[in-house]
């Protein structure tokens, strides 16, 4: 692990200061969590801060803090820095990049307001011209509602269009976790319509509305299962050209045989509609060997172009 420089540590201590309001006690654990440090490191920081202040460095000129029983006690106003310091250029860049990754582009009101209040002379527009951690900027509004639903344990009513589906469905979900997979955001949830855990891609959610209905998180933790192939049915596919097969396109796939240029692969699938569409999209260069119902679904889909194209 890289050792912290004096400058890094001073920066961390300065970032702590506006959380130290006079007359309050703050859990050491929470400060440690916020700053990505261990409680003992933050305790050392607090001890060092208690030795800092302004001339002439009499006791009343020093930062009035001490740690006791895992709590940071602040017993007098700070000599300075009672407000948060603005973001440095690097911090503003990191925040703008993170917001962009979550669907809040440089001109989104959230990004604009946040950077205007917290950062001096930083342009998220300019950053987006050189570094983009997301391609689209369309999921921000849905993201906000789902994030609040998760924090407050309240259900969210969504209008969703599943991949390959020809219509939208309205459903009430218990949102459990937001997940980014290769740049796309998903919400792992318990779907009350399906009566089962489901994962929804955010750019397929047309609208999301927070309800007043409170839910309890499932005790065995349904979140985190979203991309696990465990327990999913498996289809056997044949690809005419082994080079045309990419594991990145078929999560959890396993090559079982190769005959000349062709390849047989077992592919886990969560929905028949999805795998039928993926195979149909190969336009005859891939085939479902089994199961029969998936083979039939592919045949049905391709038989009527209006099924495929709408």
């Amino acid at each position: 692990m890289r050792s912290l420089t004096a400058a890094d540590r001073a920066r961390r201590m300065l970032a702590l200061l506006h959380h130290l309001q006079p007359g309050t006690t703050v859990p050491l654990e929470r400060l440690a969590e916020l700053l990505g440090a261990s409680p003992s490191e933050i305790a050392d920081d607090i001890t060092t801060l208690s030795l800092c202040g302004v001339a002439p460095y009499y006791p009343d000129d020093l930062i009035a803090v001490f740690v006791e029983d895992g709590l940071v006690n602040v017993w007098a106003p700070l000599p300075a820095f009672d407000r948060a310091v603005r973001l440095s250029a690097g911090e503003a860049r990191a925040l703008a990049a993170a917001l962009h990754a979550a669907g809040f582009g440089p001109s989104h009101p959230l990004t604009e307001r946040l950077l205007q209040a917290a950062s001096a002379d930083f342009s998220a527009e300019e950053l987006a011209q050189v570094i983009r951690s997301a391609v689209t900027e369309s999921v921000g509004e849905v993201y906000k509602t789902l994030a609040l639903g998760i924090e407050r344990g309240r259900t969210v009513r969504i209008v969703h269009r599943r991949a390959g589906a020809d219509r939208e469905t309205e459903r009430e979900i218990e949102p459990l976790e937001l997940m980014n997979d290769k740049g796309a955001w998903y919400v792992s949830a318990f779907c009350r319509l399906a009566g089962a855990p489901r994962t929804f891609r955010l750019d397929r959610i047309r609208s999301a509305v927070l309800t007043d209905t409170v839910f309890s998180r499932h005790p065995d933790g349904l979140a985190g299962r979203a991309f696990s192939p465990e327990g999913l049915p498996v289809a056997l596919l044949r690809f005419d050209d082994a080079d045309a097969f990419s594991e990145r396109e078929w999560p959890g796939a396993r090559v079982v045989a190769q005959h000349g240029k062709s390849l047989e692969v077992e592919v886990p699938y969560a929905g028949t509609a999805w795998i039928a569409r993926m195979v149909t999209a190969r336009l005859g260069t891939a085939e479902v060997v089994e199961p029969r119902d998936v083979r039939a679904a592919v045949a049905r889909l391709a038989a009527d172009p209006s099924n495929v194209l709408g």
């Binding site: 970032a15 820095f81 990049a97 950062s119 050189v130 900027e137 589906a165 290769k182």
Partner: protein
């Protein structure tokens, strides 16, 4: 270590509390931590480093015409940050996810940013995760961070690159921008030997060296009109046969248009409430496949033979699954 940290915090406190600008000599006398037996030149070097360190933490330290220093309070301290509950929730979720993602290149700065903008310590547990890159995320994140530093300072970089034909070549490049797409980070830059702007997948790059000569001077100027989004392409925009495609997006999925088009091409409304999307393409088969994968609701208008190709492809699928 402790002395240097204390000195930096003391200097920050002094500047924030000082009623007026102060000379370097006065600061030396009044800020605890500057050695009294240090010669003038050594003190000035230390003081310069200290100011740089505090500026990197966000402090706006100014010098007046007489060489006296003060903190600009309006540029140093944040205004009140007024976000709604859902905005804070979104910020926390995005930050929590990306802080733990090794492919996100700015996690150190993001942590400090969040600590500064968060106005309460009493926050609920955040449930969010991220995996921007699925191939060597640590390596990609580290490479992006180093390239971002090179890009910010306009320093040339050299690296070894293995292309999709397994050819390995050493390149010298002026980085112009970077983007993440479909699990990979890419760098766009001008290849000095080739004299043209190229895109490099960072997972194929190794032995990166940033030019360290004359660190405070720029090696190159990025074109003023550069926009990295022009280099983010859809799967059918790679290939050797450029053509223009016109696609129709049905009225009931126009709300997904931004996600579908990824900002590429030209979108116009048609009388039926749908959208007509004109977009550059380079691979016919990849476009056909993309249309099917992203449908229903997307159809090909031009070129007409491509639409026929789709119908022929469906016939092959039916025949194989009969």
């Amino acid at each position: 270590m402790s002395d240097a940290t204390e000195r930096l915090v003391n200097l920050a406190m002094y500047l924030a509390a000082a009623p007026q600008a102060a000379s370097a000599a006065r600061i030396r006398a009044e800020v605890a931590g500057y050695p009294s037996d240090q010669d003038e030149a050594a003190f000035l070097r230390m003081f310069e480093r200290d100011k740089d360190d505090l500026r990197a933490a966000g402090l706006a330290i100014e010098a007046d015409a007489d060489g006296r220093y003060r903190l600009d309070p309006s540029a140093t301290f944040a205004s009140e940050i007024s976000l709604s509950a859902d905005e804070f929730a979104a910020l926390r979720a995005a930050a929590a996810a990306l802080l733990e993602d090794p492919a996100f290149p700015f996690s150190g700065d993001l942590r400090f940013a969040l600590a500064k903008v968060e106005n309460t310590l009493d926050v609920p547990e955040v449930h969010a995760s991220a995996a921007i890159a699925d191939e060597c995320p640590d390596l990609q994140g580290d490479t992006v961070a180093r390239l971002a530093a090179a890009l910010g300072a306009s320093k040339r970089v050299t690296f070894t690159y293995t292309n999709s034909r397994s050819q390995t070549v050493r390149h010298k490049v002026e980085p112009y921008g970077m983007f993440a797409r479909e699990g990979r980070w890419y760098m766009v830059g001008r290849d000095v030997a080739l004299g043209s702007v190229r895109t490099y997948a960072l997972s194929r790059l190794s032995d990166l060296v940033v030019n360290s000569a004359r660190p405070k001077s720029r090696d190159y100027e990025r074109p003023a009109d550069f926009d990295v989004s022009a280099y983010i392409r859809l799967p059918f925009q790679f290939g050797d046969e450029p053509f223009e495609a016109v696609l129709r997006i049905d009225a009931d999925i126009t709300w997904r248009a931004q996600a579908i088009t990824a900002g590429q091409g030209c979108v116009t409304e048609d009388p039926s409430g749908g959208l007509t999307w004109t977009v550059a393409a380079r691979d016919r088969n990849a476009l056909l496949r993309w249309v099917v994968e992203n449908g229903p609701g997307i159809s090909i208008i031009e070129p007409p033979d491509l639409a026929r190709g789709l119908a022929e492809g469906f016939a092959r699928v039916v025949k194989r699954h009969a």
